[in-house]
């Protein structure tokens, strides 16, 4: 069993910082036999994670991790009081960012991890997804709406993220990429 600490990945500027940083991982065989899948146990089962203003996960480079990040985004968006359509957009954008980190960034490397932090500022949802890959230059991404790219089988993830979020920021890490997704909320929800 490996134990990973998320604290080393956390930005230092946040004073409201709670992390769920202990994960016990065990390998499983993918149903398709093509993709690595790892079972995650983070000790958070049964807790209402959205009661916290900030949650940080350090996760394996697996599809289970992508699903967990997506579910957490959905929970936080629901807690923030946005409507169902917006919940769908936010959770999908976060899923796409997690897929990018795990698939394109870390390339399912078992020695690399994805860090996902979710912050509820009261007026915005701020989600940061970091990988440990070779880096991503968004300027080099082809336009998926260009006629010559329309029938490509891939390349729409970042486009969808930009379509669904209010702000999207890329930051190069060494190594890796940090993707920050921000959704501004109309008013501060009660208790935020």
């Amino acid at each position: 069993m490996q134990v990973f600490g998320a604290a080393k990945y956390l930005p230092q500027r946040s004073k409201v910082m709670q992390s769920l940083d202990i994960f016990r991982s065990s390998k499983q065989t993918s149903p398709t036999g093509k993709l690595p899948v790892k079972k995650l146990h983070d000790g958070s089962e049964g807790q209402d994670l959205t009661d916290q203003r900030r949650i940080t996960y350090t996760l394996d480079s697996s599809l289970d991790s992508v699903n967990k990040v997506e579910e957490t985004a959905e929970q936080m968006a629901r807690k923030a009081g946005v409507d169902e359509d917006e919940i769908f957009r936010i959770s999908m954008a976060v899923r796409e960012a997690a897929v990018n980190a795990v698939l394109h960034g870390n390339a399912y490397d078992p020695d690399k991890h994805m860090t996902a932090s979710f912050e509820f500022t009261g007026s915005s949802l701020v989600i940061r997804i970091c990988d440990e890959g070779k880096g991503l230059d968004p300027a080099t991404l082809p336009d998926p709406l260009a006629p010559e790219n329309l029938l490509r089988g891939s390349g729409r993830g970042i486009f969808l993220i930009r379509s669904f979020m209010d702000e999207v920021h890329f930051r190069q890490l060494h190594p890796g990429t940090e993707l920050t997704l921000i959704k501004h909320l109309g008013t501060a929800p009660t208790g935020a």
Binding site: T32, V99, L150, R152, G153, S154, R156, L160
Partner: protein, 116 residues
């Protein structure tokens, strides 16, 4: 969470009834394998019924595009039936709605296939 898929034949058209999620991994792979199996058996008139698909990600969208081009390149026809609002909106955003032949009625979809 995973995708459900079943097939049936109507007037020479193979209808794949899809349900659940078409996402990176299992859903996309299932769809790809199903379309390849049909083509291998010479069944080139394919109608994807997406009425019970409640979620699709960029990988799933890419898989729909790949299925469309693969079938077309082999001289077949692939159409989409019964898009949910979410899938409809995603195809609009990605400018793919006009690429696919999208139907909302099974009988008219079947009738729209060429009779060659």
């Amino acid at each position: 969470m995973s995708m459900k898929i079943s097939s049936r034949q109507v007037d020479g058209v193979t209808i794949l009834d899809l349900g659940g999620r078409i996402t990176l991994g299992e859903g996309s792979v299932q769809l790809r394998d199903s379309v390849r199996d049909l083509l291998a058996k010479g069944q080139k008139k394919i109608l994807l019924n997406l009425g019970e698909v409640n979620y699709i990600d960029s990988s799933g969208i890419g898989e729909l595009v790949s299925a469309y081009t693969t079938v077309r390149n082999q001289g077949g026809e692939l159409k989409l039936l019964n898009l949910t609002r979410k899938v409809h909106d995603l195809l609009q955003i990605t400018k793919l709605y006009t690429v696919f032949d999208v139907k909302d009625d099974e009988a008219s979809a079947i009738a729209a296939y060429s009779r060659a």
